[in-house]
Symmetry: C2
Subunit: 409 residues, 2 copies
């Protein structure tokens, strides 16, 4: 008799963004003429830049004739893209990686979800709280998260990030095997200074732990002192796997491409103490369960690294960051406590008078016709906050701010 | 201390196609001027058809302007493609599926590898032997395959398919929880008549087993009596999940798109006997660990279902099937026992005089400069066979046949 993987049944039935959509639809049904602006879901709105579009056209033409047609590519991605990554994303920061340490993927969600396959099912995990739900859910599905006790998973250590500690997670005073960090952070939009990131690398090295480092938003960093990659920290090659995505960097949410760095120095232990390099294990995992990212998407990604591509991508990021700055300025003037939004496309806003996240979400929806994301949806420490994103069109974002202003006055 | 998933270490260190590449490279080093033709790896050689190329250009242009730009798509795929699938791949065969039973993927390898996440880690599995390695390896990685004993996995039931039983796997006389079937078959190129497939569905219904049915090569079926989908069999909706791929149908090995059918009627049991629908579980899995297939690839796939797309794809399939027929005819005339190649792009050839697969592979490489795939690489029952593919260019395939003829004479 085929038995179901019962760990799946432990997952909460509600899904944050589905719940939001449901509430928004209910509002629309009651107010069919209302014009809602969403500053909620983190999808981009600006088109692909011309260099990327041109590269896709060119790749399509290559696929149209036998001489230049491309079938299966390498599971780990084409060298043309892996070389561009080494040369542009790492060498300028003094990070020397081998081409075989780069694995092209179809977006960071797949790899941040799949990476946990490499470690034992009962390894403990530590997460900053609030957190991107995939990190925990992918561990729940294999039984690693344990069971829910008082709204928290028994095998997960939650490291609160709130205004009280300046959104700096505290180094655990006990051993955790696997740590998820995401900086610039989703959902809080805050960053980790180099000296703080160093503490994590040192903790991991000392405790033989592994850091899964999600750098999906690094392109939004404006402050030169903030690390773009964990490999800027000495020793990180021995303890960290890093995830990158072109989704937010270059509007690839529909194109699907990113990459994962698995250094050759990072190992995990067997029960008998043998050290196993994870680079080879990830390669094996990808060769077995993945057949490479679309050639079209890889050529599209390569175009981001050309001179014109770089300039065009930078322009779009500036477009979104103008939103972020204006949002932060306006909301702060209105007396709200606003975090993030300086080196990230996300703003994390404290609800006034200690109101609950969902209650504030509903008020903003009904009174200002603006959609946000309730912070508590990202974890218990998100209660009393909401997330706003800077990915909207400028005119709509401005209009949303006007509405919020009129509502809160 | 982070502990490694030790199940990964049970995987054989050698990978079939890597081993072949190594041997071919050794030959090339010794004979730098030789011109080798590969009838080995199953990649296509013909370019994308014009309708598909046009669709990619159009999609690229849509992504270039804000009004038509597409960001995140639904994890389960766009309705425009799911509707085309229902209308073209299933309705004409009298199969009525709901749109939410179709999940667009980035190729069948990902989904045939990931689908096992839905069932308990200790469910037993049954596979036809020889077999596409992903089915077993993805189960090894999570510990479900057990341990190797005499070259076989302890929790895997092998169902031999050889010339002796006409390549018809025998229904097991014991209970197996999960069964992998692939028809038209990779690697043997043989098919399963409707009455045989019926036996499997009945077995699964009777034993509360689940069939993972890989239909990646269904577009190559020439004989109208052979089922294209397991859902042509009554009751299959309750026990089978089916995988489709555009890789071989339309040369999408580099574009990456396919789909998986998870009917709403299929359930698996909890330990307490509760029935859990797998459709919802797969949706949850995909929403957590996948962010949808590239918009470009989905539009490319949609074009296959237009009138011109259908005709163009059919032409390419005929091109390959001409190869298959010629290969079968020539090799048979040479006195070889040849199977498959009539409803599939693969030919399965018995080595003469009971020679070993690898020995025959090396002879063909050194004496005819033609590369094949040793059958034993697909499982113990593949010993004494080799696989040839019909995906070559016609001129090269003809030349390879000439060489084999001269060599064997």
């Amino acid at each position: 008799m085929a038995l179901v993987n019962e760990h799946f049944l432990k997952l909460p039935n509600n899904y944050l963004f589905a719940d939001i959509a449901k509430k928004v639809n209910a509002f629309k049904t009651m107010h069919p003429k209302s014009d809602i602006i969403s500053l909620g879901i983190g999808d981009v709105t600006q088109p692909l830049c011309p260099a990327v579009v041109e590269a896709i056209h060119h790749a399509a033409d290559e696929m149209a004739t036998q001489a230049t047609f491309r079938g299966y590519g390498p599971e780990q991605g084409y060298d043309f893209l892996r070389e561009a990554i080494l040369k542009n994303d790492f060498l300028p920061r003094g990070i020397h990686l081998d081409i075989n340490e780069i694995f092209i993927n179809d977006g960071a969600k797949s790899d941040t979800g799949n990476i946990q396959e490499l470690v034992r099912w009962d390894n403990s995990i530590g997460v900053t709280d609030p957190i991107y739900p995939v990190y925990i859910d992918s561990n729940v599905m294999i039984g690693r998260a344990g069971v829910v006790e008082n709204g928290r998973w028994s095998n997960v250590l939650y490291m609160p990030c709130t205004a009280e500690n300046g959104f700096i997670p505290q180094i655990p005073n006990k051993r955790v095997d696997i740590i998820y960090l995401c900086y610039p952070n989703n959902p809080t939009g805050t960053v980790l200074p180099k000296e703080e990131l160093k503490k994590w690398v040192n903790y991991a090295l000392k405790n033989d732990a592994i850091i899964f480092y999600d750098a999906a938003y690094e392109a939004y960093i404006q402050d030169d002192s903030i690390p773009h990659s964990i490999y800027e920290i000495r020793g990180a090659r021995k303890c960290a796997i890093e995830f990158h995505s072109y989704s937010k960097t270059a509007g690839f949410t529909g194109v699907r491409c990113g990459y994962t760095v698995v250094p050759k120095d990072i190992t995990a232990s067997t029960l008998t103490g043998e050290r196993i390099p994870l680079n080879h294990l990830w390669y094996r995992r990808q060769c077995t369960k993945f057949n490479g990212t679309s050639y079209l998407s890889q050529r599209a990604a390569q175009a981001i690294y050309t001179q014109e591509g770089k300039e065009q991508v930078k322009e779009t990021i500036s477009y979104y960051m103008r939103n972020a700055h204006k949002m932060k300025e306006t909301l702060t003037k209105l007396g709200l406590e606003v975090y993030g939004g300086e080196n990230a496309p996300y703003l994390w806003v404290k609800t006034p008078n200690g109101e609950g996240s969902w209650r504030f979400f509903e008020q903003m929806l009904y009174d200002a016709h603006v959609v946000c994301t309730p912070g508590v949806g990202f974890g218990p420490s998100g209660e009393g906050y909401i997330r706003l994103t800077a990915f909207g069109q400028q005119e709509k974002t401005d209009e949303a701010l006007l509405r919020i202003e009129n509502w809160l006055k």
